[in-house]
């Protein structure tokens, strides 16, 4: 069966990997030790497996890894700048916007895509964009607040 070498660009790093055609993106990133990306519903509903592929949020559970050939992939591990957390990560901590934390990587990556597309979102925009990410712990409100806080923080930053 088919396998091929792809040029992988994950979180700024580059490498070549050989994968089989049916390999899913989540299987690939987790096999690289990037296990922050989580599998849950396995049907594109919950968003726990969200990564950015070429700047767009995708369900890595239902995306073939070959799609990542030569396209940038950002996972939760790629957000912080060394020990300096991304404003979204800071805001999630500050607002207690997670509990068990299992949805959190996908939630934050999805929120990053949102802020890339809409740097000044209102509540309705946040709720609509994030509607495809499920959290069973928080009741969501603190997540909305965290995303809005981060947006404000990022606008204020030089």
């Amino acid at each position: 069966m088919g396998s091929r070498e792809i040029h992988l660009r994950v979180n700024g790093g580059e490498r070549r990997v050989v994968i089989e055609d049916q390999t899913l993106l989540i299987e690939l990133v987790r096999s690289l030790g990037l296990v922050g990306t989580k599998l849950s519903c396995d049907s594109q509903v919950c968003g726990a497996c969200t990564v950015l592929l070429d700047g767009r949020p995708v369900s890595s559970c239902t995306t073939l890894a070959i799609e990542a050939d030569d396209k940038p992939v950002v996972t939760i591990e790629g957000l912080a700048d060394g020990a300096k957390l991304h404003p979204l990560q800071e805001a999630f901590i500050e607002r207690f916007a997670f509990q068990c934390g299992y949805c959190t990587p996908g939630m934050i990556v999805s929120a990053k895509a949102l802020l890339d597309a809409y740097p000044e979102p209102d509540v309705a925009t946040v709720r609509h964009w994030m509607d495809g990410n499920i959290c069973r712990c928080t009741g969501y409100q603190t997540i909305v607040e965290a995303v809005l806080d981060a947006a404000e923080q990022m606008r204020g930053a030089p």
């Binding site: 594109q44 509903v45 995708v58 239902t62 495809g132």
Partner: protein
């Protein structure tokens, strides 16, 4: 986890058509993958070969002429939602696309794929049918174009021939004073009722008959017979009641977890009224 398969990347329509012929029943066309890969993971479909058409440059384009939009087969919901041509010429379609599934499905899934799957609980078909859109197909014997309502022949069934691929969706643009609207009822992941309408309302009356197509509730989208409403008072509740009645009569709802036949038929009436009221409101 997916079972083993080979992906064949093609870079031209001709290559894609060749591959379709070569693999026959053993291959599926792969673009966004949001429906296909899900079905394969669930084990309801198993294909040893996938023909990846995303690298065919022509298929990704969205173009417009004076009287039509052409949406390439690999254009995603995300692309269409943000496309300036679509937003300018057919904002109702952009809005519909912005509310398909969730942001990740929109980022990867294509409009053509949505039609090709023949999934009954889908948003786009009703509006595309209302607009008179056509699916452009290319196969061994050349190009043909099929109206969307003839392309989707049943639940998960289409008129796509074994050697064909979808190249584009052609959407005629309605005249300037024609309003287009879509409303839906959705509790689960997919719509349970979606109603698209277009029509012109002048001085409170329909100019000609409005077009109303009900989707997501039946095995396929159904056009509502509306000829009798040509010139009817669009602001009169009795007109809307009568159109709703015609819509309820036009569908054979499928009972599922979102509701019984009776409830869904009722919803068809409600959302038909709402979409027609939207037409009238937009006009004033």
């Amino acid at each position: 986890m997916l079972r083993r398969f080979d992906v064949h990347r093609v870079t031209s329509i001709a290559e894609a058509v060749d591959a379709r012929q070569r693999f026959g029943e053993d291959a599926a066309i792969y673009a966004g993958g949001t429906e296909l890969l899900l079905a394969m993971k669930m084990g309801v479909a198993r294909w040893p070969h996938l023909i990846d058409v995303k690298a065919i440059p022509a298929l990704g384009r969205i173009t417009a002429t004076n009287d039509a939009l052409r949406i390439g087969a690999t254009a995603t919901h995300w692309d269409i939602e943000r496309n300036a041509l679509v937003g300018g010429a057919l904002p109702a379609l952009a809005r519909l696309e912005a509310n398909v599934a969730n942001v990740r499905v929109r980022a990867a899934g294509t409009l053509a794929g949505n039609l090709a799957f023949g999934e009954p609980h889908a948003d786009p078909p009703s509006m595309l049918i209302a607009l008179g859109a056509r699916v452009v197909l290319e196969g061994k014997s050349g190009t043909r174009s099929v109206a969307v309502h003839e392309f989707i022949t049943g639940m998960y069934q289409t008129a796509l021939a074994g050697d064909e691929i979808i190249v584009a969706i052609d959407i005629p643009l309605p005249a300037k004073d024609v309003r287009v609207a879509y409303v839906k009822f959705q509790i689960l992941e997919r719509p349970s009722v979606g109603v698209a309408a277009l029509g012109t309302v002048r001085d409170g009356r329909f100019v000609g008959a409005p077009t109303v197509v009900v989707g997501a509730v039946d095995e396929v989208a159904r056009a509502v017979p509306t000829a009798q409403f040509a010139g009817a008072d669009a602001r009169d509740a009795r007109t809307l009641d009568a159109i709703a009645e015609a819509a309820r009569a036009a569908v054979e709802p499928t009972a599922d977890l979102a509701g019984s036949v009776e409830f869904k038929r009722h919803l068809v009436g409600v959302f038909t009224q709402r979409v027609c009221a939207t037409l009238a409101a937009q006009a004033s």
